[in-house]
């Protein structure tokens, strides 16, 4: 697993610097105070603080974030250290990953938009995937400090109150940092491709052609729809962060409660759920990337309409032809 993580990473040389810079931004944005709250038993919703560096409290999910980021960065650097014409081993893996992601994104967003924004979506996918899977490693969430006595009958369910590591996406600070970073870039990309007036028009102006009284009505209706649109846009970072946090946190809690379900089978029952969590980790990384890229596409589409249509038509015709053949 660790060996896998070493290679699970980013980038061709051009994008590498920007991707690393972004990972660092994530790491430092997540350095906030732990999310308040707490209940007895199970995984606490807030990550416990391990120690302080000056005024900065360091909690266990931050430690995992730093480790995962360092592993990703060093892994990619090592894989791309000696570049060859015909890639082998680590370089081959990294190139396959980045190339596949890039192809996937340009299929969704169109080639130009994908080229400009790939550094963000590629990073976000690989980083979420790496943190989700790192949270499943043995020792994460199980090694740490506890104030409880060890109960003899329930050896495997002994609860660690202050684990050294915690799945980084099981902390709302991490996911909301990523969602807010996306929102920031979304506004920048929207302004870049539409301009300030175009951005405003894209949200509030009526679409389609109409005449006379209908036109006035359309303007009023689309202005009201625009208000709804603004609300839904402002809600996007909230829903993005809660979705990822909720999934990962629920997964951790489920693994823990499965362990305690039947005391003497605590080592066996969670195993199938570990496989499910592997799948959930991949799907949630995919969902975060897909949703953010579709949001970006929706606001930037305007500009690249025919170019996008060309790609879309290609796929559409291919599909229809195949369907006709049947």
């Amino acid at each position: 697993m660790i060996a896998l993580l070493h290679r699970r990473s980013t980038s061709t040389a051009g994008n590498a610097a920007r991707i690393f810079a972004l990972v660092f931004v994530f790491v430092f944005v997540t350095s906030g105070q732990a999310f308040a709250g707490g209940e007895g038993g199970g995984l606490p919703p807030d990550a416990p603080v391990l120690f302080n560096i000056g005024p900065l409290p360091v909690n266990n999910s931050m430690v995992v974030t730093w480790i995962v980021a360092a592993v990703v960065i060093i892994g990619v650097q090592r894989a791309m250290r000696r570049k060859q014409e015909v890639p082998l081993g680590g370089q081959n893996f990294v190139e396959w990953l980045v190339d596949g992601l890039h192809g996937f994104l340009s299929q969704i967003m169109g080639r130009d938009l994908a080229k400009n924004t790939f550094w963000f979506f590629g990073t976000i996918f690989l980083f979420i995937l790496a943190t989700n899977w790192a949270a499943l490693l043995p020792g994460v969430g199980t090694i740490g400090f506890s104030s409880q006595e060890v109960e003899g009958s329930r050896v495997f369910t002994h609860h660690v109150e202050k684990p050294l590591f915690r799945g980084a996406n099981a902390d709302l600070n991490m996911t909301s940092a990523m969602a807010v970073t996306f929102f920031f870039w979304w506004v920048i990309w929207a302004l870049k491709s539409n301009g300030p007036v175009g951005f405003f028009k894209h949200i509030f102006a009526p679409k389609g052609k109409s005449e006379g009284v209908m036109k006035v009505m359309m303007i009023v209706i689309f202005a009201i729809v625009g208000v709804l649109e603004v609300v839904s846009i402002l809600f996007r970072p909230v829903s993005l962060s809660f979705r990822l946090y909720g999934n990962v946190y629920a997964g951790e809690t489920m693994l823990e409660s499965m362990q305690g379900l039947v005391p003497w089978l605590g080592w066996l029952i969670p195993v199938p759920f570990y496989f499910m969590e592997l799948l959930v980790g991949l799907v949630q990384a995919l969902v975060f990337m897909l949703l953010t890229s579709v949001f970006t596409l929706l606001i930037c589409e305007h500009h690249e309409e025919h170019r996008h249509d060309e790609h879309g038509d290609d796929h559409g015709h291919g599909g229809e032809k195949k369907a006709d053949a049947h």
């Binding site: 809660f242 909720g246 897909l290 599909g319």
Partner: protein, 71 residues
Amino acid sequence: MLSILAQLTGNLHIGLAALGAAIGVGIIGMKAAEATGRNPGAAGDIRNIAIILAALVEGIVFFAIFLAKGQ
């Protein structure tokens, strides 16, 4: 009957949201499978749309869990 209903407590809103979302995701999966069967060439696009929609539906449950106030 009513007195039994009146005794219901706990995080009912989460259960109801999960019920609705489960039905919704089920319908999305059913229709995605049907659409793929009808037009296998568009399987990739259908998969993307299905994942996105399932994620949007799923988000409702997390709103219910974290944003709505339970007793």
